[in-house]
Amino acid sequence: MIKERTFRGGIHPLERMHHGKRLSDGRPVVRAKPPTTVVLPMSQHIGAPAKCLVKAGDTVKMGECIGEAGGFVSAPVHASVSGKVIAAEPRLVASGAWPFSVVIKNDFEDTVAESIRPAGSVEALTPDQIKAAITEAGVVGMGGAAFPAHVKLSIPPGKNVDTIILNGAECEPFLTADHRVMLEKPEDVVSGLLAIMKVVGVKKGYIGVELNKPDAIAALKKAIGRRDGIELVTLKVKYPQGAEKQLINAVTGREVPSGGLPADASVVVSNVGTAAKIAEVLSTGMPLIERVVTVTGAVESPANLLVRIGTPFADIIEQAGGAVGEVGKILNGGPMMGQPVYDTSVPVLKGTSGIVVLSKELADTKEESNCIRCGRCAQYCPIRLQPLFIDAYSRMHNMEKAEAFHALDCIECGVCSYVCPAKRHLVQSIRAAKGAILATRRQKA
């Protein structure tokens, strides 16, 4: 019998439709058609925006750096096609922001920049060389958070990290991009993990995968082989198994202290897609200019596509045969934590793991009614918060009380809102409380 590890709380969203994953989990990754224009925001990551190095009229090559890191917590941006810069101006992205962006008209030549050359093998490179390659390639967390990878791998003094966990849970309904990467590039995932372990200087690495991806588990086990120090952990199929804190708890039994970072539990967590990208960066020298995106839901033929960063959502949806039926929402990411977009001209970014077209039926929002104190939100909360009370205080604008009920520890996974029989907008109301609490803190500081 396989040992399944997990955390306390959690749910099985859309279980009756196999979490929406059957639509695309059997579709191998295929290269998307290159777009006619790409929109490359200077801010695709958490931290300072990159500093733009080009202007309208410039000619750029594929892989050329067009924005240099704007600080330590920042990442450079590279041209994902070769061609001519036709605009450098603020553009709308899926989050609703308008970051400064470079728009490139594709010449379809894919002329590679001269600077692109392989860095070498993980074994041959020193930790600093690996980290420099990751930094220069603009690698950020590809699971969605888009935190610059080199920053995550720079352990602050005083913290002692002994474990790396690769997150292959992919617990969001509908998304299958990580699944396909693990299945099709298991060697890259393992090699990326070895690179990360080398940079951080740890001997123990885990890859956590939910049990509903047996083919990926088998592929990874084969790729790991008899290597010491790397262990595949099978995780129970449960949402949010891939949330950083829940994953750490399931794999190591440790808890990240409230308000702390994974490093406070001596762990660094990275997405399997990020690890595979790191391996690719080292072996080819090509920076992060394309990624696997799942396009699924109410589309003609759901797919996992290898997409150039900066490709408009509309292009990708069209390559999946277009939307079918009455569309309710188009999501950047999965249905539990993704953002709805109102304009499909927004570009795929480094952190875009999926585009989900939700049918009107699934996206339909019901009226909320009074809380009946059934306690389901508290019962299933993976942080063991009591969302019903935070919600009540948030709506009364009693932010001191909301904070006392640990509003700031909420990971916004959406479990409470999902299970609420009164259809209350719990996450939204907790998010409002978090914003207000943090604003007050900044004022005091």
Binding site: N249, E255, S258, V327, K329, P340, A378, P421
Partner: protein
């Protein structure tokens, strides 16, 4: 793709709904309703109909008057009406369920803001109100086993308030004895409880803690010294099952955590036993429930769970 919905995440919701939960409770109360009509005939159907109709009409009316959304479709007023009727003796005149339901809906529920905002279980509060205000009408029992009006429920006999013989245990299980409409048939109530547990509408904590506490305490503190109590009659009589399964478990007025629910059940049990063994009344379930309802905010405060990663200050 001209009009797209933009809302905060999550973008999908489960099928759970308040009305489905309430409907499940109504379904779970049906076996007891059938038993009531079987034993107490037309009078039972008559009282249940008045209580339910009054509860629903009153709720709709007051919500309309207060310009609130009319939510009688959520079945919660039906539950209140059923429970008000189940807590009445079969001989009650028509105005007793009428007044009881109006009190439950208007004073206990809507004045405080409607479903979710009442701090006492409406039906339990209504029963206590009726017992206090209409003592005579609320204690005229009818014993279907002997087909006669009497003032003796099994617990009154256990308490020594009557010299009638105790009904056999099989009659206690089947409901063939004197008591309130919905409380007599233990099997019907347990059936409803199993349904609620299976549908995950309620958890086991309150009923088990409540019934268990009453069982242990009434066994230990018997009339003829320690461990001589008449447990079976205490458990099957006096509305304990009805209260423990259907009224103490009311979400709105009971704690939200498992630990809190155990405390609630234990507290209800202790109060019931104190009332039954030391007080003047022979039952006390409704009293115990509303007393613990009032303690619920306090219990919630005591039983806040340790959150993930919570570290004690200065630890």
């Amino acid at each position: 793709m001209d009009k797209m919905i933009i809302t905060s995440s999550p973008h999908v919701r489960s099928n759970a709904s308040v009305s489905r939960i309430m409907l499940d409770v109504v379904i779970a109360l049906m076996p007891a309703a059938v038993a009531a009509v079987y034993y107490f005939k037309f009078q039972a159907a008559f009282l249940i109909a008045i209580a339910v109709a009054t509860a629903v009409v009153t709720e709709a009316l007051i919500q309309w008057l207060l310009k609130r959304p009319v939510t009688v479709g959520d079945w919660s007023a039906v539950i209140t009406g059923l429970l008000v009727a189940f807590n009445l003796p079969p001989t009650a005149p028509w105005y007793i369920p009428f007044i009881g339901s109006i009190f439950a809906i208007v004073i206990v529920k809507q004045v405080f803001g409607g479903l979710g905002h009442n701090f006492m279980n409406p039906a339990a509060a209504a029963r206590v109100f009726l017992v206090a205000s209409f003592g005579q009408q609320m204690t005229n029992w009818f014993n279907p086993a002997v087909d006669a009006v009497s003032n003796a429920t099994p617990l009154a006999i256990v308490k020594g308030l009557s010299t009638d013989p105790l009904p056999p245990v099989t009659d206690m299980l089947l409901g063939n004895h004197g008591g309130c409409l919905g409380e007599t048939c233990a099997i019907a109530l347990l059936l409803g409880g199993v349904y609620l547990l299976a549908r995950r509408v309620i958890t086991w904590h309150i009923p088990v803690a409540f019934i268990g506490t009453v069982g242990v305490l009434t066994l230990v503190f018997g009339p003829d010294g320690l461990f001589t109590g008449n447990v079976v009659y205490h458990l099957l009589g006096g509305g304990l099952l009805l209260g423990a399964i259907f009224m103490a478990t009311d979400y709105v007025t009971s704690p939200v955590t498992s630990k809190g629910r155990l405390i609630m059940g234990f507290g209800c049990g202790v109060i019931v036993v104190v009332i039954r063994l030391l007080g003047g009344m022979s039952e006390g379930v409704a009293f115990s429930i509303i007393l613990m309802n009032v303690a619920t905010p306090l219990i919630d405060r005591w039983t806040r769970p340790r959150i993930y990663g919570e570290v004690k200050p200065n630890a």
